[in-house]
């Protein structure tokens, strides 16, 4: 008997361990709790979506997205409401964090096994849909997906090589400073409104708070963006436009010298210091959470995870875009933060389009999603959230400041995976190299110049 019991136990443990070996991403058909159905029914009564269609097929569609916990929760609630509104359509979902998300999706795009509906990054159209065969031309489902909610200039950014509409933009975004006001208060100074203020803050922090306090923290990619803001402002032209790299090696060196001067002036910690923190990102970095890193340069759509990391004890505020880089403009750029696309392998494109329309244009879905994917670009979505006073004030303030000062659109080639990769990308190599003392800024500028030239060929 004992042996039997042991065998059964061992078998159960083996079965469990086999389960544990599976994918960590969540993948399960969603259910429809009654409570959500009732809530959805109330919201549906308010306004009918433009893409609402009575003659849909009962089917199962799949949907992949990346994000943080709050986005996952909102999207799951929206899916439940969608299924309640359109009985018979089941949405099978798969979500995860950004880390390694792109790698997994890229392989799915290549092997034609991607989900029906995909949240995509704006450079994926050029990178993974080079021949226009991966993402469906959304003009073919325009009777279901209300494309009139987007301006032509934004839809044009989503076109593939064949001129088809590969995706619809969910929101636009750009980088802006967020400051931990509590730390600045502790140092007895105002939050920086200019580069001069920021440099002065570096000195004050070291004197009043200690050498381990910095007014701003920048990782390798953040440094590339900061250098780009500086150079775009100074040179008054975008770093890449229409796939052409616009700068010389000398100009790149100037940008790198600028970043290095921030490190030398105790404005930003060295990358060696940041590596020593052993944190994947600033929102989980103990020094950011405790106020030792008192500023970040982040996407306007991303402050919530930092607010949540700081908790109630510290106050995160939106800063100003700097106007004293030495040029005519702020150098600020905007880009499509993310987009929604349908795979060409999707067997139910109409129903997939209904889901996108529900999430982006249907007031009911929009109300549930709120600003979880940034300030929406769809006109009806903005109106719905504005009327309901549901636009997150911090995100709205950041977004308005970015869009008001944005001088250039960011070219997708800037985010080429070979340049941007956090593990072995050229940005990381160049800025790590300078910060660790392996490269001079001249050598790093040469590396960056060669890489940009190759990507833009």
């Amino acid at each position: 008997m004992k042996k039997k019991l042991l065998s059964v136990s061992l078998a159960a443990v083996m079965a469990l361990s086999m389960t544990a070996c599976g994918s960590t991403a969540v993948e399960a058909p969603a259910e429809t709790p009654a409570a959500t159905t009732e809530a959805a029914a109330e919201t549906t009564a308010a306004t009918e979506a433009a893409g609402d269609a009575a003659d849909y097929e009962e089917c199962e569609i799949s949907f992949d997205w990346w994000g943080g916990d709050s986005r996952h929760e909102a999207t799951l609630a929206a899916i439940e409401a969608f299924q309640a509104k359109y009985p018979g359509i089941t949405v099978k979902y798969n979500y995860g964090a950004w880390t390694d998300y792109e790698t997994a999706r890229a392989l799915e795009f290549q092997s034609k096994t991607a989900a029906d509906v995909n949240q995509i990054n704006f450079n994926w159209i050029g990178d993974y849909d080079a021949d226009g065969s991966v993402f469906l031309d959304l003009n073919t489902v325009s009777d279901t997906l209300d494309l009139s909610q987007w301006g032509d200039e934004y839809l044009d950014m989503m076109k593939d090589v064949n001129g088809g509409l590969a995706a619809v933009p969910v929101s636009m975004t750009g980088r802006i400073f967020y400051w931990d006001k509590t730390t600045f208060d502790e140092a007895g100074i105002e939050i920086p409104k200019s580069l001069a203020d920021l440099r002065a803050a570096g000195k004050t922090f070291a004197e009043k708070l200690g050498d381990d306090y910095y007014p701003l923290a920048l990782g390798p990619y953040d440094r590339m963006i900061m250098a780009t803001l500086y150079l775009q402002s100074k040179l008054d032209q975008p770093i890449i436009a229409d796939g052409t790299f616009n700068y010389t090696e000398e100009q790149l060196k100037d940008g790198l010298d600028f970043i290095q001067s921030l490190e030398d002036d105790h404005v930003i910690p060295s990358l060696e210091t940041i590596d020593g923190d052993a944190a994947d990102s600033f929102d989980v970095n103990e020094k950011f959470i405790s106020g030792k890193y008192a500023g970040i340069l982040e996407w306007d759509s991303a402050p919530k995870k930092y607010v949540s990391a700081l908790g109630d004890a510290r106050e995160l505020v939106v800063g100003e875009e700097f106007t004293d880089f030495g040029g005519k403009s702020t150098g600020v750029f905007y880009k499509v933060s993310m987009a929604m696309a349908i795979s060409t392998t999707c067997e139910h494109p109409k129903e997939a389009a209904m889901l996108i329309n529900y999430l982006l244009n249907d007031p009911e879905g929009v109300a549930i999603m709120a600003t979880e994917r940034g300030i929406p670009q769809s006109e009806i979505a903005v109106k719905t959230l504005s009327d309901a006073d549901a636009l997150d004030p911090l995100i709205l303030e950041a977004h308005n400041k970015v869009m008001d000062s944005a001088a250039f659109a960011l070219d997708p080639k800037f985010e080429d995976s070979g340049l941007k990769s956090t593990d072995n990308g050229v940005y990381k190599d160049a800025f790590d190299g300078i910060s660790y003392g392996d490269y001079t800024t001249e050598e790093a500028a040469g590396i960056l110049f060669d890489a940009f030239t190759e990507v833009c060929q």
Partner: protein, 294 residues
């Protein structure tokens, strides 16, 4: 049952395995060799044939550095792990109180493998201001910045694998149980101490197991991926970028399958070389108790 069927019955039984072998082993093996001589990129296609990937693998400084780091890793980890495993197995072979608890406790790290939990634990231990630095500071020692110092980062990756010596330990323990007790008794009568007994009786008699552990650990070390991937991501400054991590980065970050395949084949050849050396060397130091002796 006709004769042909009877004659081929064995083949029929192993057909499922053969299909699996051909589809999941032989085909990838052969196709990676083919791709290693091409510039195949997952999203840009195949345009060129030649040995350019092998030239790049062996001449590009970053790749050379990865090969050197892999050698360092393997030659630090394997001996340390074998010594730790044998030492603990030797102790756990004595009749001491609670020995089963200790055997289980020492084996547990092996089953944890490379997981997120281990990554969190290791980072908490070795980050700046982490448990190790704090502990060292308490006794007046200034510990290095393990996570950000390129000279020390590889050490913590090695330590992770050495810490997971449980599986080798169990194999050593089984071998130690097989050493005849009468040899120890005879040696004791002759006045041999514990160390003398260990080096003159135990070690020679378990050399086949030491050899087995050496080869398997060598193969494992050269293919190590999880440790640097979950803890340091290959940094700082590529000081923990082992060749397997570079293969992954080339294959799945930049999609250069041709280059990644060539690197995998270089790794295979290196591994094969050391395995052949190990097998060749066994006639000099491994004792088999069959009719041939050695």
């Amino acid at each position: 049952m006709n004769k042909t069927l009877k004659r081929n019955m064995g083949l029929l039984f192993i057909t499922p395995w053969l299909i699996g072998f051909c589809v999941f082993k032989l085909y990838p093996f052969a196709s990676s060799l083919f791709y290693s001589f091409t510039d195949y990129n997952l999203f840009k296609g195949l345009h060129e044939f030649g040995i350019m990937n092998y030239v790049e693998t062996l001449t590009k400084p970053a790749n050379q550095k990865a090969l050197i780091v892999t050698f360092k890793y393997a030659f630090m980890t394997v001996p340390l792990k074998l010594i730790a495993a044998l030492f603990i197995a030797y102790i756990l072979n004595f009749k001491i109180k609670g020995v089963n608890f200790f055997r289980t406790a020492y084996y547990i790290p092996s089953i944890l493998g490379g997981s997120v939990a281990i990554s969190v634990l290791w980072r908490a231990l070795f980050k700046d201001g982490g448990l190790i630095q704090t502990g060292c500071a308490l006794i007046g020692i200034t510990a290095p910045n393990f996570m950000s110092d390129p000279n020390w980062a590889l050490f913590i990756i090695c330590l992770l694998r050495v810490w997971q010596f449980g599986s080798s330990m169990v194999i050593f323990l089984a071998a130690l149980k097989g050493v005849p007790q009468d040899l120890y008794e005879a040696a004791s009568i002759d006045g041999a101490g514990k160390w003398k007994q260990f080096f003159s009786i135990t070690v020679p008699l378990i050399t086949p197991v030491i050899f087995y552990n050496l080869v398997t650990q060598l193969c494992q070390a050269f293919q190590e991926f999880n440790g640097p991937y979950i803890i340091t991501k290959g940094g700082p400054r590529n000081s923990t970028t082992l060749i397997s991590l570079l293969i992954y980065n080339n294959a799945f970050r930049t999609y250069d399958m041709g280059l990644a395949s060539a690197m995998a084949w270089v790794l295979f050849v290196v591994l094969m070389f050391f395995t052949v050396i190990a097998f060749w060397s066994q006639k000099h130091w491994v004792y088999y108790s069959d009719e041939e002796g050695k």
